[in-house]
Amino acid sequence: MLYTINKSPLMFGNLKSALRIAPEGEPVLLYEDGVYAAAHGAATEALVADALAKHPIFALKADLEARGITRLIDGIRVVDYDGFVALVEEHPVVPWL
């Protein structure tokens, strides 16, 4: 299952909640304001770094660029729209709105 997150991890508990339930190994996709979780130096970095040991974590390129997020946490995989579509084709989606 692909767990998708579109809310800022600093304003909302969506990321933390999804990571609690997502079984180890399941991919996570950050998009819209969810991409702030990919930012190096944010207060949520430790949470994301721990999660990277258990899950592949993807962040949508257009949403990163739109927000000026250039310094990413090591291990975050950046995907473009084609990559987004490929992930959705490959995995059933659990949208953690």
Partner: protein, 119 residues
């Protein structure tokens, strides 16, 4: 289970339109005899507590609606137990008999569905 829909309820009932819209969707899906499983996680569990009376807000009680869902073919209700416990609640506080699951149980339910609809 391609024809199963999991409805994932994560919002508290009166602060947004999500719970009411989720309920409408559950009714609609149930009427079409599609297998619906409703999973309550995080603030979604607040939709199930007894003694809701939003009449002072000019709103209908969403808590009253869930017990009538079996009449519409929907009878699979699952609650994420840690979410319930974190809110100081137990099954006795809920308007329906729901199955309790842990993190892995919630993930398994979501994985068993052909589609996950989030509210």
């Amino acid at each position: 289970m391609e024809n199963t829909v999991a409805v994932l309820m994560r919002k508290a009932p009166y602060g947004s339109v999500y719970t009411a819209e989720g309920l409408r969707s559950i009714l609609g899906i149930g009427v079409f005899e599609i297998d619906v499983r409703v999973l309550f996680v995080d603030d979604g569990v607040y939709a199930l507590v007894k003694n809701q009376d939003p009449s002072v807000l000019d709103m209908k009680s969403l808590g009253d609606a869930f017990p009538s869902l079996p009449e519409f073919g929907v009878s699979s209700f699952t609650v994420h137990a840690p979410s319930l416990a974190e809110r100081g609640l137990s099954v006795e506080d809920l308007v329906i008999d729901a199955e309790l699951v842990d993190d892995a149980g919630a993930a398994a339910l979501l994985a068993s569905a052909g589609t996950v609809l989030p509210f």
